[in-house]
Amino acid sequence: MAANFFTISIIILSLFLVTLSAESESELVADLLTLQSESESGVIHLDDPTVSKFLTNPKTPRPYSLIIFFDATHFHDKPELRLREIRREFAIVASSFIANHNSSNTKLFFCDIEFSESQPSFQLFGVNSIPHIRLVGPATESLEDDSGEMDQAGLSRFAESMAEFIESRTKLPVGPIHRPPILSKIQLGVIALVLLVWSPLVVKKIVAGETLLHDPRSWVSGAVFVYFFSVSGAMHNIIREMPMFVGDREDPNKLVLFYQGSDMQLGAEGFTVGFLYTIVGLLLAFVTHALVYVKGATAKRTLMLFALLLSFWAVKKVIFLDNWKTGYRIHGFWPSAWN
């Protein structure tokens, strides 16, 4: 009898406990939903108390997953970390996810943690480098080891790769990503209005043949600019996202403007050499097409000597830089009797 009572009491107690925990679980979800609706983009801001409330205290399995973005405000001005950009994409994914689930989602919540105000949580997760994004699943026990980290490889199409990551880990479809349009509706309206006002003027000018298109000078400068732009390797800088210059490792006050090795170049370096490439040709064109019509022999002579000196220096400089950068030693093939 006593044993019977004992089992019954255990059953009742466990039942009570289960309902209690269920209640607290639903409370937690409700809390999370409130926090989510309070935030503008749907990203919940966590700190040490909320981390323990939502992650460390509740028993596993928790009824929700959290995907957490580790942020550090004082690193926002470091361009190479791209924290702001990733934070923005993260918010886009969050708001798209919420919009696609009609705010009825209780399985996955997007959160962020700031380093300076919640250092203990960073230690709890064992995060020592940023940008860092981590998914804490319902069954995750130890935050440091079990939670899944998103790899940083797909950072170029960040929102899309994060959506894939979430779908593969939680089996929750994110759905289409709603990016904010590049131009807002008001801006579009203004542009359309300006175009409308302009169009009669433009048509009139085209009919009269007085546009920039009819002016050869605009074509010359356009063509020379395209040439300068391409020859300076600017496309390389854009595609590879090269910086204009980098700091010297040994001496932080010095700037490295030129990179040795032909597989890479820095921005400023490219523009410098592109300028040298272009200036020689332009000086030659100036001498042969404009200078011949200049009156006064002295002016002609000085201008020409100046052009000559500048061109000579530019060519010499480029040859020197090229030899230095590529390490090639260009030599002629002379008759062996000459040596």
């Binding site: 009819h214 390797g233 042969t288 093939f333």
Partner: protein, 785 residues
């Protein structure tokens, strides 16, 4: 061109003198052109002199094999050729998937020589096709530049093109690839377009379509032509340069050219279905509308015309909007917006690096840095801006084409280093114009300021000289100038505006149309120095940088020259020691060479059309021996070939390419994971390497018995001792290793006998692992093994 007319009219006594000079100039430029052709041919022979007369690299071997087939079996067999020696067991339809221009050209040359009883081998013809076409390309450059700016500029441009390093890199003797003939076709098509534009002759328009057809046959880069020419037509229309000549130059090209292009099997209906060609059709429509408007304008009174314009514009706008909406809907419905990945990455340079890693990973598709320009066009980079400015004084239809050509091609070359090849001819043409004009100005300045000539004659001479200088330039054009001036109203009016200013000035101060004597002499010397530097650089580039055939390698060391001929040694071994129908597996880089040199069937080759098949080979190479054996056995492979550079320090061997095999294999078969082969994100083969790495087939085949060479197993490429030195092969046996260990060939051991009652077949790969383990455990009891 207005100048020579006036000069001949004003000074009739000079006419006979001029005619003699023109005749002499004609003969001289003929000989100069001949010498330029000889130079273009001979500067490309360094590879034959330094090495030997062989086909280079990888793709040329395929082209060579196709040419052999063509020479042996004739054109119809070639057209219907299904190749079962490659992509086993799939095979490949060759006739419908290659650009046949190069093959047909070389095949025709060979046939012609043979029917003239000149018994050259197909290989010899293939080796020398590229140099021959370089000579043709420099002549085509002469023709094109002559149409734009006269004979002097043409000769200079031809000389520059004959030795421009960018073009040399793709056309040395032995480099038997599509680009070799395609650059000639490109320049020649442009020349015929300009010629038609200048003359308005339907004869040249037809020739232009045929040249375009040849270009389509030769190279996928023909899309550059079919977009550049419409752009130029549009430019002419927008800037008010429409003429009947423009119509004749463009309309037949679109109609005939598209029809002819659709005849090439590899292009086919792409010629009308892909977005790359839509621009030409759009411009075709616009051209007709504009031509119609000009026609109506001619037959109506101005008032009636205004009424008609308002009527047509309102109706036309509605129709245009509808058509454009349909077009946009059509284009938008395809996932890539109807553009191929490569074209898209030209328009949006960051596209490839974001979305198509396989295009972004190829080294020729990288964006170049500034030293690439100095390496590939050298001092031309300095001269091009001057050439651009020269094209604008005065601006004509043809010179605007050159400007457009250089602007677009320089932009494209900035996106992809491979397109430097298209940019190089444009750079040569503009630099040729710049050089020739500057020489013109400087020599004129010197000639008429030399001491001993009185100031009176000086004035006279200065005037006539500027005229004769131009007359020389336009020597061939003078006869035509009358008829051409008739149907060139827009150009002429423009010119008149331009010419008025200088002529009034010239009257005021005739003497000053020259530069100071001393500085002219210095500039002339400096320009010659610049040209000399160009020649030295080009010869150096041809001799040192671009002549290595990469099938035979050499290295200089303190004890002399070393030649590494291991590749041919290995292929010859395969050819002589294996059965004709044996299948050889290797990484895809060596597929073309194996089929061409060893004449054995390969699983994958450099035409990477089937990713799954390549991934299968990649998976086999990254699997442990047993699993690899199963994969290879299921593909009927008898021999496995690996390239190993560890002994001699050849860096582009299979171990260095191995991560690509893992990546590509893992892309299709997820059980291959790249992190398994990396220790803390680092790729290493020393004692720190992961067990997966040390047990994969590629490691074992590369380093089998390697420790026997020096006792330590020191890899000279990776600069480290290898991780696992002593091991045995269970499923493969070494059959051949070349002299320098660069190529190693292994044979698959025959399958073991099965024991009765244990014939349970494993279906899936995962379950097979365990059952195989059991079977091999049992296998030890088999008395026959």
């Amino acid at each position: 061109m207005a100048a020579p007319e006036t000069s001949t009219a004003a000074v009739p006594s000079l006419y006979t003198n001029n005619a003699l000079r023109n005749a002499f100039g004609g003969v001289l430029s003929f000989f100069i052109l001949l010498l330029i052709g000889v130079m273009a041919f001979s500067i490309r022979l360094f590879s034959v002199i330094k090495y030997e007369s062989v086909i280079h690299e990888f793709d040329p071997y395929f082209n060579y094999r196709v040419t052999q087939f063509l020479a042996k079996n004739g054109i119809y067999e070639f057209w219907n050729w299904f190749d079962d020696r490659t992509w086993y067991p799939l095979g490949r339809v060759i006739g419908g998937t290659v650009y046949p221009g190069l093959t047909l050209t070389a095949g025709t040359i060979w046939w012609l020589l043979n029917s003239l009883n000149i018994p050259l081998s197909v290989e010899t013809v293939c080796v020398f096709t590229a140099p021959i076409f370089s000579a043709l390309a420099s002549w085509a450059t002469f023709l094109l530049t002559k149409e734009v700016k006269g004979t002097g500029a043409g000769l200079t441009a031809a000389a520059l093109l004959a030795m421009v390093p960018s073009y040399i890199s793709r056309s040395v003797a032995g480099s038997y690839d599509n680009e070799a003939v395609a650059i000639f076709a490109l320049i020649f098509t442009f020349y015929l377009y300009i010629k038609t534009l200048n003359t308005g002759s339907l004869f040249y328009a037809t020739l232009n379509s045929i040249a375009y057809f040849y270009m389509v046959c030769s190279w996928g880069g023909y899309t550059f032509i079919i977009n550049l020419i419409p752009m130029h037509v549009l430019l002419c229309i927008v800037t008010g340069r429409f003429s009947s000549r423009l119509y004749i130059a463009y309309a037949p090209l679109v109609v005939l050219g598209t029809l002819l292009a659709a005849l090439v099997p590899v292009v086919g209906f792409n010629a009308v279905m892909t977005s790359e060609h839509f621009a030409s059709f759009l411009v075709f429509i616009i051209l007709h509308v504009v031509a119609f408007v000009y026609y109506i304008k001619g037959i109506l009174s101005p008032k009636m015309f205004k009424v008609a314009v308002t009527l047509v514009v309102s109706v036309g706008l509605a129709v245009c909007c509808a058509v454009i909406a349909v077009l946009i809907a059509l284009v938008a419905s395809s996932p890539t917006k109807g553009w191929s990945g490569r074209s898209l990455s030209l328009l949006d340079p960051t596209y490839a690096s974001k979305y198509i890693p396989i295009i972004a990973s190829v080294s020729e598709h990288q964006p170049p840095t500034w030293p690439s320009y100095f390496m590939d066009i050298n001092v031309l980079a300095f001269l091009v801006p001057a050439g651009i400015v020269a094209c604008f004084s005065p601006l004509s239809d043809s010179s605007s084409f050159v400007v457009l050509y250089i602007a677009t091609s320089v932009y494209f070359s900035g996106v992809m280093v491979r397109l430097m090849l298209v940019f190089a001819p444009a750079a040569c043409i503009t630099s040729g114009i710049a050089l020739s004009q500057s020489f013109d100005v400087f020599t004129r300045s010197i000639k008429f300021q030399l001491p001993g000539i009185s100031s009176n004659t000086e004035v006279d001479a200065a005037e006539t000289s500027s005229a004769t200088a131009e007359a020389q330039n336009d020597a061939v054009k003078t006869e035509k100038s009358e008829e051409t001036s008739k149907n060139r109203p827009s150009k002429k009016s423009k010119k008149k505006e331009k010419e008025e200013k200088p002529s009034t000035k010239a009257k005021a101060e005739k003497r000053l149309i020259a530069l100071p004597l001393d500085s002219s002499v210095i500039s002339l010397l400096l320009l010659i120095l610049l040209g000399a530097f160009y020649v030295v650089h080009c010869v150096w580039a041809a001799a040192e940088a671009y002549s290595a055939p990469s099938i035979v390698l050499t290295s200089h060391s303190h004890d002399g020259l070393h030649v590494f001929d291991d590749f041919r040694e290995a292929y010859a071994w395969l050819r002589h020691n294996t059965d004709v129908d044996d299948k050889v597996a290797s990484w895809w880089d060596y597929g073309y060479q194996t089929t061409a040199m060893a004449n054995r069937t390969v699983i994958v080759d450099n035409n990477t059309w089937n990713n799954t098949h390549i991934a299968t080979v990649g998976t086999a190479m990254s699997s442990p021996e047993k699993a690899a054996w199963e994969i290879f056995h299921s593909l009927d492979v008898k021999y496995v070939l690996v390239v190993f550079g560890g002994l001699v320090g050849y860096p582009s061997d299979d171990i260095n390419k191995f991560l690509w095999m893992v990546r590509i294999g893992g892309g299709v078969f997820p059980h291959i994971k790249e992190p398994d082969y990396l220790r803390d994100g680092q790729y290493r083969i020393d004692s720190q390497a992961t067990p997966t790495m040390l047990n994969c087939l590629m490691y074992k085949l590369s380093y089998y018995r390697f420790v026997e060479t020096d006792g330590k197993g020191f890899d000279r490429v990776r600069q480290t001792e290898i991780g696992k030195k002593y091991f045995k092969l269970t499923h493969f046996e070494e059959v051949f290793t070349t002299h320098h260990w660069m190529v190693r060939i292994y044979k698959l051991k025959p399958p073991k006998n099965r024991i009765r009652g244990k014939t349970k077949k494993s279906k899936s790969k995962t379950s097979s692992a365990s059952s195989r383990a059991k079977r091999s455990g049992m296998g030890k009891k088999n008395p026959w093994h």
